[in-house]
């Protein structure tokens, strides 16, 4: 396996360019009421939901409703990367959210159509990708591409701003309760993404949080003064980099359960042989692989900045450290460590990672026990306990493997789900109106 070692120059991609195809309105979900019936309800308009809609589109399934509380296609995704001041994706060019196996314009072509506005570093990444090497994608390119995908597959027209509340079986269809009312669906795809992890209760965080204590996704504003960053993943790296680039000092707390690792998910999991390796593993073996690859990781591009800042004292790293509590008011915050020492700061930034959104409330009695124990058909990603309901994105990790959280995993999941939905439509939905799926 080739190790991917990107350099720090990748972090210099500009953000906010209006590349060819850019049109913010393309991402706004239609502001209409729900119809009584639909062939497929997709809960979540993030990258996983978008992949599902485009895959269904290419199989002729057009009666689709996409429901998302943010009101925008990939709205939460872009809000989060913007809050981190992130300007490049970790994914390579071949991972894109379009449909598998169709002659659509791909992400790499889209970048080349934007050639005039790309920097030399970005152009070099395109050339790397054309040569079969890994080349990372500027967020500006990705954003314009998502807008293009949304328009080509008329996703916004199929969208509604709302939240899925529950699903229950109703004859051979499913009855979905949403914040916009109820809708009968032939199938439901749960693409509900990931939620930022909560801080442990023992930290006794003030409630509500003062402005000096923030979760990573809530604001793009830097801390004006000494900052503490808690966490060891990519989000933590972005927050630290932003503070350092603003001339600030940072104390970086890596908890015992965390380790700073310059690594990425093993690339083999994105290939058919990697997925086969995962699918052959036992239930316990899969759980172990997922634990191993859920470790936070920071890519190599941050290393020179972090190392030089640690050498010259702008960055103080507390490794293998546990936190006893965090207090704060409108002016300052303070961390207390387990050994009793205190770290005063102008702000504490919490980058505690994410975990798959809990779908148990939506599924009700069909979800006995932990959501992680939900049994999913590997080939179709259909829930065993509730036929007609499919999982994609982070929720499909047990079937797709560590790649499920990645754009490429979304595409694989979308292909399996869309084929299963079309196959099931050939006679298994007797209550559907004639002419519909």
């Amino acid at each position: 396996m080739t190790t991917f070692i990107p350099g720090p120059e990748l972090l210099g991609s500009p953000r906010g360019r209006r590349l060819p195809g850019w049109d913010a309105a393309s991402l706004l979900l239609a502001n209409r009421s729900l119809d009584d019936e639909t062939d497929v309800l997709v809960a979540g308009a993030g990258p996983a939901g978008l992949a599902a809609v485009t895959a269904l589109w290419h199989l002729g399934v057009r009666d689709v409703v996409v429901l998302d509380p943010s009101g925008r296609i990939c709205g939460t995704f872009f809000d989060r990367v913007n809050a981190l001041s992130q300007s490049v994706l970790r994914s390579p060019y071949e991972h894109h959210p379009g449909a598998e196996g169709h002659r659509d314009c791909e992400l790499l072509d889209h970048a080349r159509l934007s050639w005039e506005q790309l920097t030399d570093v970005e152009r070099h990444q395109v050339r790397m990708a054309q040569s079969g090497q890994r080349g990372v994608v500027p967020l500006d390119v990705f954003e314009a591409f998502v807008m293009h995908l949304a328009r080509a597959h008329q996703v916004a027209d199929r969208g509604r701003t709302g939240r899925l509340l529950s699903i229950q079986r109703s004859g051979t269809a499913l009855l979905a309760e949403t914040t916009l009312g109820s809708v009968r669906a032939g199938a439901v795809v749960l693409a509900m993404g990931e939620q930022p992890s909560e801080a442990p209760a023992r930290w006794n965080l003030p409630n509500p949080l003062p402005a000096t204590i923030r979760h990573w996704h809530t604001s793009a504003d830097p801390v004006l003064g000494p900052a503490v960053v808690v966490g060891s993943g990519l989000s933590a790296a972005h927050l630290i980099a932003r503070q350092l680039q603003q001339g600030g000092t940072v104390t970086w707390v890596q908890r015992r359960s965390e380790r700073y690792q310059c690594a990425d998910v093993n690339a083999s999991f994105f290939r058919p042989e990697g997925r086969a390796h995962f699918s052959r593993a036992t239930r316990d073996g899969r759980a172990a692989l997922l634990r191993q690859h859920r470790q936070p990781s920071i890519m190599f591009e941050f290393r020179p900045l972090l190392q030089s800042a640690e050498r010259d004292g702008r960055l103080r790293v507390l490794r293998n450290t546990e936190i006893a509590g965090i207090t704060g008011d409108a002016e300052r915050a303070e961390l207390t460590l387990e050994d009793g020492s205190r770290i005063p700061a102008r702000g504490v930034l919490l980058a505690l990672g994410t975990s798959p959104a809990d779908v148990s409330e939506v599924l009700g009695h069909a979800c006995q026990g932990s959501p992680a124990d939900l049994d999913v058909n590997d080939a179709t990603l259909e829930l065993t306990a509730m036929p007609g309901v499919f999982l994609t994105g982070a929720q499909a990790a047990k079937a797709v493997g560590p790649a499920s959280r990645n754009l490429d995993g979304h595409r694989v999941a979308a292909q399996r789900i869309s084929r299963a939905i079309v196959a099931a439509s050939a006679g298994h939905r007797p209550e559907r109106t004639a002419g519909q799926l």
């Binding site: 060819p20 195809g21 589109w57 002659r103 659509d104 314009c105 072509d109 889209h110 080349r112 159509l113 934007s114 050639w115 005039e116 030399d120 152009r123 070099h124 050339r127 054309q130 293009h148 328009r151 080509a152 597959h153 008329q154």
Partner: protein
């Protein structure tokens, strides 16, 4: 020695042109039919793909295809008169673009930048484009 290796400082028009050379012939003809709407080749390529999905780009996709086929047929004579079809087509697309595009440009005086770019791609793929044009003018997509 001149190299046609893919440089990071490649000309913008050339880079988008290479993408055009690989488009389906139907998309080339639709692009030609719609080129008057947009001078940006990149924007046009993106809109043509969206139109192939949705069936509309200002007017119905099939109507743009037929219009593009007629445009190709009518501009073919001008291109021939300027000796464009006598030029050898190098096997590598980048080299082909560098040879054909400067020849197509003066053969279509007054044409929009996007029209010249699409016409260059049609010249490069003319056997397939001719065939698709004939079918399009007979009502086939």
């Amino acid at each position: 020695m001149t190299t046609t290796w893919m440089a990071v400082d490649a000309d913008t028009g050339e880079e988008t042109g290479i993408v055009l050379l690989a488009l389906d012939t139907g998309r080339l003809l639709v692009g030609l039919g719609a080129a008057a709407m947009l001078s940006s080749v990149s924007e046009l390529a993106i809109l043509v793909e969206e139109a192939e999905h949705t069936g509309v780009l200002g007017r119905p996709y099939d109507s743009l295809l037929t219009h593009g086929a007629h445009m190709w047929t009518s501009m073919r004579k001008a291109l021939d008169n300027c000796g464009v079809f006598a030029l050898k087509r190098p096997g590598d697309p980048r080299g082909a673009w560098r040879r054909l595009h400067p020849a197509v440009d003066p053969a279509l005086p007054g044409a929009a930048r996007s029209t010249v770019a699409l016409a260059t791609a049609c010249v490069y793929r003319r056997e397939q484009v001719d065939d698709h044009s004939r079918r399009a003018m007979n009502g086939y997509r």
